[in-house]
């Protein structure tokens, strides 16, 4: 269909009125650029907001205890209770499709008092008793040494892994960290590793001021007995934690003599649900991006359609001559269609390139001024580019359709008579 002769014909026709061709092309150029930019900005917003979720496995929930709100089995309301270590085993054995269950205990916290001492230096940090699985739920970059292990858990070793913030406040520059001891609430603990958050946006400071210890060591050293402060539970990838959580709650309620309809006793935060909500929002935003972009593009397409109609009108006589020389109606039609297609695609490609340039500039600026709240790495995937190209091809054909039909509607004898 696109032979060299056809190309010559098309380029000749488009070149015949350069300024008009340029103006017409601008509509499509602008439309597709807006479309791609809108999608890139939506993506940037999405990247920024989802970065706030950190790297924590999104199919997770956190579960803790609160005072009961209903009396049950002779127990009063307003009763406090604790999860126990064997609750974890019970959940593991009775609820299928769970990937990780991490019982956790915590010491210190927001605005806590100084609780860690090393020589003359002190600091207030968050100290957690954790299982080795926790690093799979909350990815950490281990900078030196290692994370806690199951042999630490079994032997109740007094070891810990410290965050970069801890290192900064307790150690001098270039000091060896591994193998040193720090005193946590009066208990000497060996430092076996340092870490930083894999993705620290927003809460980086707090995360860096964190110390992880083996769960069993923590319980024994700080008198927690069999108690579990809270649990971080992650479901397997294709089962949503939201669908599993009623079963878990039911189990916990029955094990702790909580009224089955007591909604207050078990507190939880469903990360998956929150994440779904946010990603739902961004699907809508992406749709809006496509919709608005497509509307802007449409005015460009109508521009092309309009100009092609004028071109056909202007060339009525030429079309008549061509038909007298033996041009079939289809060859006339396809020429008009191809002209509009070439015009649309060329200007669209330039539009996409322009949008890519703007995105690149945005990213360069973002890189140089550092992270911006709720906005990061605006970009579009190659699929979006292909979608845009398909939109261009379809709209180019649509733009040419009416003019192409009107080009052959007139009888050649009438077309030739036009002056």
């Amino acid at each position: 269909m696109f032979s060299r002769d056809r190309w010559d014909e098309i380029l000749e026709a488009l070149n015949a009125n350069k300024f008009r061709t340029l103006l017409t092309a601008f509509g499509v150029f602008w439309g597709i650029a807006i479309l791609v930019l809108l999608l890139a900005l939506t993506n940037g917003l999405k990247n920024g907001v989802t970065a706030d979720f950190g790297d924590f496995a999104t199919n997770s929930m956190f579960m803790w205890t609160q005072g009961t709100s209903k009396p049950y089995k002779g127990l009063p309301k307003g009763r406090y209770f604790n999860y126990k270590v064997d609750d974890v085993a019970a959940i593991k054995s009775q609820i299928p499709n769970l990937k990780y269950i991490s019982p956790r205990n915590q010491l210190g916290g927001y605005n806590g008092a100084n609780n860690v001492v090393r020589g003359t230096k002190t600091g207030a940090f968050e100290i957690y008793g954790d299982y080795p699985e926790y690093i799979k739920q909350q990815p950490l970059d281990i900078l030196q040494g290692r994370f806690i292990s199951y042999s630490d858990i079994d032997a109740k070793r007094k070891v810990c892994v410290v965050g970069t913030g801890v290192v900064k406040s307790l150690y001098d520059k270039d000091e060896d960290i591994l193998g040193t001891y720090i005193k946590i609430n009066g208990v000497n603990v060996l430092v076996v590793g340092t870490f930083k958050m894999s993705n620290s946006q927003g809460d980086g400071e707090q995360d860096a001021n964190t110390i992880y210890m083996p769960f069993t060591t923590f319980s024994q050293a700080f008198n927690r007995g069999e108690n579990v402060g809270w649990m971080a539970i992650t479901a397997v990838d294709d089962v949503s934690i939201t669908s599993l959580k009623p079963q878990i709650f039911e189990l916990m309620k029955s094990r702790h003599k909580v009224h089955p309809e007591d909604d207050r006793a078990i507190g939880h935060f469903d990360l998956s649900e929150q994440f779904e909500r946010v990603s739902g929002l961004f699907s809508i935003l992406t749709f809006v991006g496509y919709f608005v972009g497509a509307l802007v593009l449409m005015s460009g397409i109508i521009g092309i359609s309009n100009i092609m109609l004028i071109v056909v009108k202007e060339r009525t006589k030429e079309i008549g001559v061509r038909r007298a020389l033996g041009a079939s109606p289809w060859s006339i039609k396809s020429q008009i269609l191809q002209e509009s297609l070439v015009l649309t695609i060329l200007s669209g490609m330039v539009g996409i390139s322009f949008a890519a340039l703007v995105i690149w500039i945005m990213n360069t600026i973002l890189d140089s001024v550092g992270p911006v709240q709720n906005f990061a790495n605006p970009s579009v995937s190659i699929q979006v580019v292909f979608t845009a190209l398909i939109i261009l091809v379809v709209s180019g054909l649509l733009a040419g359709l009416i003019p192409a039909n009107s080009a052959t509607k007139m009888k050649p004898v009438d077309a030739l008579r036009i002056e």
């Binding site: 060299r4 000749e12 061509r322 038909r323 007298a324 020389l325 033996g326 079939s328 009888k411 030739l416």
Partner: protein, 233 residues
């Protein structure tokens, strides 16, 4: 070559209907050079358009080179025009953004001839009309007579059976008209069948036969003594 029998054509404009051709009968043999004369409104252009398959008759028979021309759709009509006919117009109708060579090769393009062969043939016909050195000029850079000669080369390019010329000298001065007629006579001498519509007596007398139309009927159809255009140039 051309056989026409009882050809009728009328135009409808709103409630008015205009009966333009009221039963035309005539035949043209191969190698003839015929002029069709008549005052404006006599139906000579309509007749030529029907012969050129640019327009369709209401009734009557039209046989071109033993092929009955009827119930044409546009696709077949386009193919017949390309195969059988060459058109020469009063206002030349060259495509103004194409060079003389490209204009001449256009019918060959629609015939599906390969680029190289097309250029060779087009060049050959440009030489024939004496414009080889103008092949890369745009129509706007040519004089009226030159334009018409390019148009004649274009009409010849696809080697048609019949040339149809609608007032070929209507836009030219006398001297150039005679030059163009000399060319047409030369082509006819080589055996090409040519029909010329004109209202100029001197041009008509340069053909071999004059058909006179009046009010949609042939009132006179007689051979004439051909005047060679070269005598006037």
């Amino acid at each position: 070559m051309i056989q026409i029998k009882d050809l009728h054509k009328s135009y409808h404009m709103g409630t008015n209907s205009l009966h333009v051709l009221k039963g035309i009968n005539f035949n043209v043999k191969e190698g003839e050079l015929v002029s069709i004369m008549g005052s404006s409104g006599s139906g000579k252009s309509t007749l030529l358009n029907i012969l050129g398959m640019l327009d369709e008759a209401d009734s009557g028979k039209y046989i071109l080179d033993n092929v009955p021309i009827k119930n044409l759709n546009e696709k077949i009509a386009a193919k017949y025009r390309n195969d059988f006919l060459g058109f020469i117009f009063q206002s030349f109708n060259l495509i103004n953004y194409k060079s003389a060579l490209d204009n001449v090769s256009m019918p060959l393009y629609y015939k599906g001839v390969k680029r190289k062969e097309r250029t060779e043939k087009a060049m050959h016909y440009l030489e024939k009309v004496g414009l080889a050195q103008w092949s890369h000029h745009l129509p706007s850079e040519l004089s009226g007579g030159q334009k018409q000669r390019v148009a004649i080369a274009r009409a010849l390019a696809s080697d048609p059976k019949v040339l149809l010329a609608d007032e070929p000298t209507g836009a030219l001065d006398t001297k150039t008209s005679y030059e163009v007629m000399e060319l047409i006579q030369g082509i006819n001498d080589e055996g090409k069948t040519i029909l010329v519509v004109t209202h100029e007596d001197d041009i008509a007398h340069m053909t071999k036969r004059i058909v006179n139309l009046k009010d949609g009927l042939i009132i006179d159809d007689s051979p004439v003594q051909q005047v060679r255009a070269s005598l006037h140039v």
